[in-house]
């Protein structure tokens, strides 16, 4: 059981600054998710924790010990690789028994090894596959073997690199819920890397959003979803992605307004920066599809954004309306009964509280109630 701390870690691949002054604190027994797009540096971060990739500068601590220079076999971590990395020349049983037999840990008797392997195999539902070779298994089965190989060890921490990304959609969801249950059995610290925000929100105690080697925000699923610290964070969570519209902030009579396409909307809550003295400032206004209302006639409210229907797709329980506003498309979630025709004129409105304001230059969330 371990807490893991990454302190100012840097890594370069040639000229590429892959990991940039990374600071992370992962608590003991936490299910910690690192979310990021491909190439953001998630796998590199994980491999540095495992000891498989060297750190160029900075330190890694586990349970207070500086393990930065420790070789992988000395750290008490287990890793599930994205490609599973199974030992093709060994049977499933031997694959799973391997960590118990390798290395310098205390020797277990053959029956102890067998007991542990069988227990985990039963847990994962692969106990009938123990004599097969990896080449004979399906993708889902191989993934379970990779998981099993990590589970037999009862290590201080589990590191998982996109374990579900190569599975078919059907198995994907099944495994996701199984993982949640397994988590109770595992009881260790888990560091889980993914590019799928749904997995992140469903599984994580806390999520770190990684972008180009830098951490954008760390928080609970609720925090990062409802109070994104930057525009990038907001855009990476949610489907459809958050709409971002350019706007200007200005102050009038001691109140702060944001102006979008000439339409002013009063901002609720404090906003960093503008006062009567400072001139209007460029902001990016973020609003999620589910918070927007689209009406055919301008509502009684003072704020409504005119636009033209581009397309309306009704998908079972809900409708997805794409509206052209100025040069860009805005996505709105509608109820399945509403009907819109292409090129129809519609008016969009939303509550000020649902809106997020991001600085036009830095992308930082300007409202203080974000974490």
């Amino acid at each position: 059981m371990a807490n893991i701390v990454l302190d100012n870690v840097d890594k370069y691949y040639g000229d590429l600054h892959a990991i940039d002054h990374l600071q992370l604190q992962i608590r003991d027994r936490e299910f910690f998710v690192i979310l990021g797009a491909s190439g953001a540096g998630k796998t590199t971060t994980l491999k540095m924790m495992a000891g498989v990739e060297p750190v160029d500068s900075g330190s890694i601590f586990m349970d207070g010990q500086d393990v930065t220079r420790w070789p992988p076999e000395r750290r008490e971590v287990a890793m599930v690789f994205e490609s599973y990395a199974l030992y093709g020349h060994l049977s499933v049983y031997k694959n799973m028994a391997f960590p118990l037999l390798a290395g310098r840990r205390k020797r277990l008797t053959a029956s102890e090894v067998e007991q542990k392997v069988r227990r985990v195999a039963q847990l994962l539902g692969i106990d009938m596959l123990l004599q097969r070779r990896p080449a004979e298994l399906s993708g889902g089965q191989r993934q379970r073997v990779a998981l099993g190989r990590a589970l037999v060890r009862e290590p201080a921490a589990f590191l998982m690199d996109e374990p579900l990304s190569h599975l078919d959609a059907k198995i994907h969801h099944q495994m996701r819920s199984e993982l949640r249950q397994l988590r109770e059995c595992m009881g260790s610290t888990i560091v889980y890397v993914t590019h799928d925000y749904g997995e992140a929100l469903a599984l994580g105690d806390r999520i770190a959003i990684l972008h180009e080697g830098k951490i954008m925000q760390v928080g609970t699923p609720g925090e990062v979803f409802h109070h994104p610290a930057t525009r990038l964070v907001a855009e990476s969570l949610g489907d459809p992605p958050m709409n971002v519209l350019p706007g200007r902030i200005c102050c009038q009579d001691g109140r702060t307004f944001v102006e979008i396409q000439g339409q002013p909307l009063r901002v609720s809550g404090a906003v960093e920066g503008p006062s009567a003295a400072t001139p209007p400032r460029q902001v990016d206004v973020g609003i999620r599809a589910q918070h927007i209302r689209a009406t055919q006639a301008p509502s009684s409210r003072p704020f409504h954004l005119p636009g033209q229907v581009y397309v309306h797709e009704v998908l079972g329980d809900e409708g997805l309306l794409t509206v052209t506003v100025g040069p860009q498309h805005v996505m709105v979630l509608t109820s399945p009964e509403e009907r819109f025709t292409p090129d129809e004129r519609v008016y969009l409105s939303w509550e000020a509280e649902a809106m997020h304001l991001f600085c036009g230059q830095t992308g930082k969330n300007l409202q203080s109630h974000s974490v």
Binding site: P72, F81, A102, G103
Partner: protein
């Protein structure tokens, strides 16, 4: 394609292959026959295809035969056979020990001048042997390595080591890095990874290389001729001994030829799959 063309093609194929394999097998068949002929029949004019076979030739070279005692050279042939076996086995063993690590190192690690070193290793496959053997002769004389098994084994490394390194490097590079990383995370030191994961995964490569190196060492002539001597004489040299100044013992030479070839032929049939793999490595995929 019309049936007529198909039949024509088949006919051409049958004739063509027949001609080639007749060409390929005929000399061997002829020598085989020769090995069973008695001195009178062996170089009869015109050559005899029908004769009464005898095992005398084989007996002469292995155990020595009464009636040949004045003519047959000392039946050292079994000794030559043993010498060849010792040298070939030692060569392969030494190459394996030395070369496997170098191949792994070239495959996994990057260090300055890596490709230059790799090419230098390889380039000696293409060097004329005498370029190295002649100076080696001088060096061996000073070190008293002439006519020694150790000396010959060392000299043979000239050819087997570069080949082994080149082939095994390719095989090691094929192993996905993540498998080795997984083994390290699972608790193996680099040595553990090497022995338990990397080596087993390159077994086909090792098999191919061992067989081809063994064959090279077995077939070699020039090294043994210049750097060898009485004690270490292998069969490739021993066989020349049947050609004396006054007479040539054709029958015994033929028998020696057959015995010489038999181990390799057996090896070939038993593991030909690996030989072909080893030879064509790089040819198709690169």
């Amino acid at each position: 394609m019309k049936d007529g063309t198909g039949k024509l093609r088949s006919a051409v194929r049958v004739v063509g292959l027949g001609l080639y394999f007749a060409f390929a097998m005929a000399p061997i068949v002829w020598i085989l026959m020769m090995s069973f002929k008695n001195p009178g029949d062996v170089i009869a004019t015109p050559p005899k295809f029908i004769f009464s076979p005898t095992l005398d030739n084989y007996k002469a070279i292995t155990v020595g035969l009464e009636s040949y005692s004045s003519e047959s050279l000392r039946p050292d042939f079994p000794k030559y056979f043993l010498n060849t076996l010792i040298i070939a086995s030692a060569t392969v063993a030494v190459s394996l020990v030395l070369g496997t690590f170098a191949a792994y190192s070239l495959a996994r690690f990057s260090f300055p001048m890596k490709e230059d070193i790799a090419f230098t290793f390889l380039s000696f496959r293409f060097a004329p042997e005498l370029m190295v053997i002649l100076p080696l002769y001088v060096i061996f004389q000073k070190c008293h390595l002439i006519d020694s098994f150790a000396g010959l084994t060392l000299a043979y490394q000239l050819v087997t080591l570069p080949f082994l390194i080149w082939v095994l490097r390719g095989f090691f590079e094929e192993i996905p890095k993540e498998i080795e990383q997984a083994a390290r995370v699972d608790g193996c030191t680099w040595w553990g990874v090497f022995c338990r994961i990397s080596l087993p995964l390159v077994k086909p490569g090792i098999a191919a290389v061992v067989i081809l190196s063994f064959i090279f060492a077995w077939n070699n002539f020039i090294f043994a001729m210049i750097l060898g001597g009485e004690r270490t004489q292998p069969i490739t040299l021993g066989i020349l001994g049947f050609i004396g100044y006054e007479r040539v013992l054709w029958g015994q030479m033929a028998a020696a030829t057959i015995i010489c070839a038999v181990p390799e032929l057996v090896l070939a049939f038993v593991i030909q799959k690996y030989i072909i793999r080893g030879l064509t490595f790089g040819a198709v995929k690169g």
